[in-house]
């Protein structure tokens, strides 16, 4: 599995770590417990395309949003997390 970092080009997946599914927005501090359980613990876990947060820890250390297929490990798209989330 190779991931094309927008800064560093195509690199082996061992240079990156995966945080998991792109997390949904963090609930408000006073949101009901169910919203927090959902945020902290529950996962979609689809068989097929997923969007995930990866970090190029052994490269430029940028956070990336990677669209990947969990059936084949094919990477379809890599974007900068900062650009995609506007943060």
């Amino acid at each position: 599995m190779r991931i094309t970092c927008p800064y560093c080009g195509s690199r082996g997946s061992e240079e990156f770590t995966c945080l998991g599914n792109t997390p949904p927005a963090r609930p408000a501090d006073d949101a009901p417990v169910a919203a927090w359980v959902d945020f902290v613990y529950l996962r979609d876990n689809p068989r097929g395309p997923v969007t995930e947060l990866w970090q190029h820890v052994q490269g430029c250390r940028t956070w990336l949003i990677v669209t990947r297929d969990t059936r084949t490990h094919t990477v379809a798209k890599v974007e900068l997390a900062s650009r995609a989330t506007g943060r």
Binding site: M1, G12, S13, E14, T17, C18, L19, G20, N21, V33, A34, V37, D38, V40, Y41, L42, R43, D44, N45, P46, R47, V50, E52, R68, T70, R71, T72, H73
Partner: protein
Amino acid sequence: MRYSIINVLKQGLAGQKGWQAAWRDATPKPQYDVVIVGGGGHGLATAYYLAKLHGITNVAVLEKGWIGSGNTGRNTTIVRSNYLLPGNEPFYEHSLKLWEGMSRDLNFNVMFSQRGVLNLCHSDAQRDAYARRGNAMLMMGADAELLDADQVRRMVRGLDFQNPRFPITGGLLQRRGGTARHDAVAWGYARAASELGVDIIQNCEVTGFVRDDDRITAVETSRGRIAAGKVGLAVAGHSSLLAEMAGIRLPIESHVLQAFVSEGLKPWIDTVVTFGAGHFYISQSDKGGLVFGGDIDGYASYAQRGNLPVVEHVAAGAVALFPALGRVRLLRSWGGVMDMTPDGSPIIGKLPIGNLYMTGGWCYGGFKATPASGWCLAHTIANDAPHALNEAMSLERFARGRAIDERGAGPRPNLH
């Protein structure tokens, strides 16, 4: 027919013509009291204990491929009960006791070999942690021994004691742990369950559930609709997909774990050894192949195969611990899809739908749990309530803040 020395002799004289198939390959009936989804060790054990201990025999096990084709047939077969936390250890110790009686109970040789499981430690802090774990195990009725470096040296040959970075300072040994023949576990439970009237149905994929309010009334399968009184899920890496069919989101991510076997060698490693400072563990099969593995690849996957970086990582751990392994050739490697939970512990119990139950979330360690998982799920299904042994393993524990986190790694499935 019972497997016994008498029958071996009789069949020998009769030209081996009287043996029957070990279990019936059934075709689906329209209705069952209990439908178990997944024909791995856990599903088959659940069906067996439902029939044997709870008198529920109108049971079907639905398997999309062939029985044992999932993680049951892909794992490295290590059986142990060396857990620390009260929510885990009594369950795994019960499981180990069931292993000790399994071949006799099932009348099927599962080749359970109590060759010991030795976790090496490499620092004083790790030794302290193992002392604590060993004491916890002893207090909960399991066996544990803390070894010093010399005792380890006498027990296992070929370890690198000169490694300056990770010196071997001792180990935690559970002598009653060991390995078993994985396929035999599936076949043994299938045979014993089938004899008690359970239908084992292969090539039958569950594709959906028919619901009536808060109950499931039938399962949709590739071999038609089958009505069900109660439904139990035992689908290992695919729990999320089955739960989703019932509209339930689970605290699970599916990950791939790889394993490896070498060419056959003369007897060398007669126990199970785990490297405490790297991702590597090893045992030697009765055929002589070295069976070993490491950590998960680390990203969600349903591919049933992993990537090369982990192969390299495991090989590095292997030669760091046993330098002579550098001369050994690899025969095969493979991967399995596992449910990883946010606390690294399993889920056995009721789901938020009246008559739906599950055992899953086994991470990389559910083979050892096969008998107790089936035993507990059968109890939970029959009584519509968990047994004391699996009460702590409920799905609700996450919402209640009662995670069972052995590693203390927090709610990231790929860190457990």
